[in-house]
């Protein structure tokens, strides 16, 4: 809030005004929006899952958190569980949404840099996204 009167780093026009249409600012606001939305949505889904858990009386979890128990850890199992409103699956969905937030942020940055016509950074960001996707693919193959 306090940085409202921030001068732009490259002054546009005669005075370094706030320049709300500064393209670099658009990228920052888009990236910030994606991160904030990802955090809020995933936290909300986790909280819904926890509320379902309390509502269901935490059956079968009496021995405490630290004890190992069966939980879904494939995408198919999580989605199947969510369809049945299984509390633990809903929590897992929230965690998955949290995990993909940084990846979404990278993907959206490509669009933002393209809007800015900064092709060098479109290239750099695409490369980062490719490496991320490769790592996901490798993870899937390895497990």
């Amino acid at each position: 809030m306090k940085n409202k009167g921030n001068p732009a780093p490259r002054p546009v026009g005669k005075e370094g005004n706030d320049a709300p249409d500064d393209p670099a600012r658009t990228t920052e606001l888009m990236v910030s929006f994606v991160l904030r939305s990802g955090v809020i949505i995933s936290a909300a889904v986790i909280v819904i899952g926890l509320m379902l858990l309390v509502y269901h009386g935490m059956a079968g979890l009496t021995s405490g958190i630290a004890t190992a128990f069966e939980f879904p850890h494939t995408f198919g199992a999580v989605f199947a569980g969510v369809a049945k409103l299984d509390p633990v699956s809903v929590i897992s969905l929230g965690l998955l949404l949290m995990i993909i937030t940084p990846v979404t942020r990278v993907a959206v940055s490509i669009v933002a840099f393209a809007m800015e016509r900064d092709w060098r950074y479109v290239g750099i960001t695409t490369l980062v996204l490719l490496v991320l996707l490769v790592s996901f693919a490798l993870g899937k193959a390895g497990s």
Binding site: K2, N3, N6, P7, P9, T27, E28, V31, S32, L35, R36, G38, V39, S42, A43, I46, V47, G49, L50, M58, L61, S63, G64, I65, A66, A68, F69, F71, H73, T74, V88, I91, S92, G94, L95, L96, M98, I99, I100, T101, P102, V103, R105, V106, S109, D118, R120, Y121, I124, T125, L127, V128, V131, L132, S135, F136, L138, G139, K140, S143
Partner: protein
Amino acid sequence: MTQLLTQFFIILAVAFVAGTVGSLLGLGGGIIVIPALTLFLHVDFRIAAGASIVSIIATSSGSAATYVKDRLSNIRVGMFLEILTSVGAVCGAFLAGLVTGSALYVVFALVLIYSLYPMGKKIALELGWRVHPFGERKGGDEGPDPLATKLGFSSSYYDPAVKREIAYDLHHVPAGAVIMYFAGLASGLLGIGSGVFKVVALDTAMGMPMKASTATSNFMIGVTAAASAGIYFLRGDIDPLIAAPVALGVLAGSFLGTRLLAKLAGVSIRIIFFVVLAIIAIQMILRGFGVSS
């Protein structure tokens, strides 16, 4: 039932502290989450590491949403260096099955100990103590790295602590890039140290101001962690009942941490970081010699 609730709130509290410290210092909070879960709650190390990955992503997304908007995170520097950290993380994950961890812990710990010296000197200079400036680049006459100019790394942010705009250039980009690769390698290989090495690369090697360094590290660690989070999830290492309170607690903590960063002086953050850096180095050496898990 009561035991379950007690454990839930303990994890929530631990995660809150981890989120606050992590968002302030550019770390993922694994340094707090892993020992707390394994030592106090006797959680399996595998599950604790999975919770730590969730903690890193929550700290990163929760704090970077604010830091990017306030221009404290330099997104160009972050995006460029993410190439190196993510490639490093993939290489590390591959090597993890081939090399034994213990010797590596000691090697990475020595790198951290080595970086304590220039960081300590910087603190001394900032506090106005009379010391020999570190290297030649403290002279201040040196221009930005040509690569930094080409990649548009120069930026500025408003620092509410000193009530003015802070503009900066970056130096020694290749050296910083190499450290970033090893930061990625360490996180892929050992699942730790993702944030500390990034802050050392940005602040100590490339000369970015401390606040911008921790904020930019926070922006980056989520991506490095996401690169391995998928693997952890599919292996069944992310226990939802432990990761859920970790995620929520860390998010709440990062809300506090981002506000603290704006208010605190750069030198105060550097002093806290210096202490945490030393603790992490000792922790890693102990683990390397098999003293602690």
